[in-house]
Symmetry: C2
Subunit: 347 residues, 2 copies
């Protein structure tokens, strides 16, 4: 046990570069549809964006998994597509279909985005952050977040989720200047959005680059590494000491370059990252987070206990936060999450 | 220029471990719906499996891209799901929806598979191979193929395509013995299937592990590396000197372990593999193939020429086959393929 005595929040201690044993734990998408209390709460809003923008509902959704499982960090309940919405793009969430946006495909479409006032339109999100911060136990940290510019821009151009984002990638390759304009707008808005969350009470922020893995090296460097680096630098400048977790899902062999070149404080490891390789490839004191296969969580039993054991063994001695390599699946039995927390804490 | 004088087929020369300049070129999914002559041919069969099993049609589909573009290798026109079909599983290809299988979910489902006679049911495929071999120009090699056991078993259990194959992964984690039984059956059938293609005239074979990237390290080693190693050993034994190309799409940081541990003759590089990293991580004389982003091919122009240039520069001196990092997209203008071939050959 070499936890810091300076802070009572083990999650933040790890992000300061110290290893803590047992490691702090939270789970991506820990609030949501696998919890019956979330499903009940969700019926109070007409649609998903409305739910995200009603602080009394979003606060409650954020707190539900903390109450149930005593996790070490809460993450703001919101969505990465609040940014396109705030920029004036039409965004809808269709039940069972996922998000649908009126896609950007031309200079005119881009010119219609309204960066001015975008952050003001997101005021309910910051009220949620403040409300959660006031309600959390003193040992529990609060994480703010945003989608990383590539992932958000990919939805803005493609218009919906996709296995490979061929349209967005093709647009970016065929019209790099226009695509850079979108990335610039999203990057600037993201800096403001994360900064406002920090001001409102977020103690760390995470950038979700969920679709980093569909990019080849050249585009990864231009569309993932460069904007993330710009965000990391701006936040360091505005909010020194507030950690930024970067999660470039599917970065593969580019993970170490991402970690070093962006200047993030911690790197999220997706399910597919081989841990022994990552421990050698990443800077030795860089905090890491994640990697447990969500399918092991859904499965439970031996698959879960062995998965946990492997991660605890392989990250020993490095500042590490326990998490999944992707979000909690909808089909997860809540009892498996309780078991996960118990096992990680050595119960 | 250091091409072998022993063979007139540059594709095979590279697979023997010699670099050739300019590199031989073929494209994954080079036959198919982006070609108007394929679309015309396809109307002659009632459904996709019927098309695959009619040698006169499959031979013609295989030859179309060779005639149009003069590629260095032809690849048998067939599908990875002919194996489940031959094993007695119900497989259908629905227009616009992709494959639908009656999923395996229990020991009883698995017991109903009929490995005996499976290869006999695939006889039309081997007649296609023989027909293509007889028709190819003397400098053009013929590639046979199969899906790798994990990818095929994933479809067999999931029942359809998926972004993450949660059902198949969950089945494999919860019931590892049953899943191993499926993998064993598929692996044995795959060895026979590739062997029969070689006997019929295939000069090299490729294993497509299209969904290797959804697996965490532990499952990757058990479900991707181990069965591939078994196939490589069996083929080396039965057909010494016939090269096996392994394509573990999305292997990420596990690519080098895959290359070394499976014993494949050549490793396919997906779009996302960073080339400089791969050139260092892979054994120095191991032949490689692939990596060009298909989106660059669809886009054409500068994106295409720069993408090609990067790959030629970074693989210089290593035995390398030019290819995409994934299949030719349906939206590809055939003129871009002609331009690609011209640029790779220094025209």
């Amino acid at each position: 046990m070499n936890a810091s005595s300076r802070t009572a929040k083990p999650f933040l201690t790890v992000l300061e570069g110290q290893s803590v044993n047992p490691p702090p734990i939270w789970l991506m998408r820990q609030a949501g549809r696998y919890l019956p209390e979330y499903k009940a709460l969700r019926t109070q809003a007409a649609n998903f964006l409305d739910f995200c923008f009603r602080p009394e509902l979003a606060i409650e959704a954020t707190l539900q998994p903390i109450r149930r499982f005593g996790l070490d960090a809460a993450i703001l309940f919101s969505d990465i597509l609040t940014i396109p919405w705030a920029l004036g793009q039409k965004v809808e969430f269709l039940e069972g279909e996922g998000p649908v946006l009126e896609p950007l495909r031309s200079a005119d479409d881009i010119a219609r985005l309204r960066p001015d006032g975008a952050i003001e339109r997101l005021a309910p999100v910051y009220r949620t952050v403040t409300g959660v911060a006031a309600a959390l136990p003193k040992e529990t940290a609060l994480i703010g977040f945003a989608g990383a510019p590539w992932t958000v821009a990919a939805y803005m151009v493609e218009g919906h989720g996709s296995r490979d984002f061929l349209i967005a990638k093709g647009f970016g390759m065929a019209q790099p200047d226009l695509f850079d304009r979108i990335l610039d707008i999203v990057t600037a808005a993201t800096i403001e959005h994360l900064s406002a969350q920090i001001v409102a009470g977020a103690e760390a922020v995470q950038l979700f680059d969920s679709w980093a893995g569909v990019l080849a090296e050249r585009e990864f460097r231009r569309w993932v590494v460069a904007p993330t680096k710009r965000i990391a630098a701006a936040l360091r400048d505005k909010h020194p000491g507030v950690p930024l977790i970067g999660f470039p899902r599917g970065a593969g062999g580019l993970l170490a370059d991402y970690a070093v070149e962006t200047g993030v404080s911690c790197v999220g490891l997706d399910t597919q990252v081989p841990l022994a390789w990552a421990m050698k490839a990443l800077p030795p004191r860089l905090p890491v987070q994640g990697n447990l296969d969500p399918v092991a969580l859904v499965t439970g039993g031996q698959a879960l206990s062995e998965g946990i054991r492997t991660i605890l063994d392989q990250t020993r001695g490095r500042p590490a936060i326990f998490n999944l390599g992707h979000g909690v699946p909808m089909t997860t039995p809540p009892a498996h999450v309780a078991e996960l927390v118990r096992l990680v804490r050595g119960g």
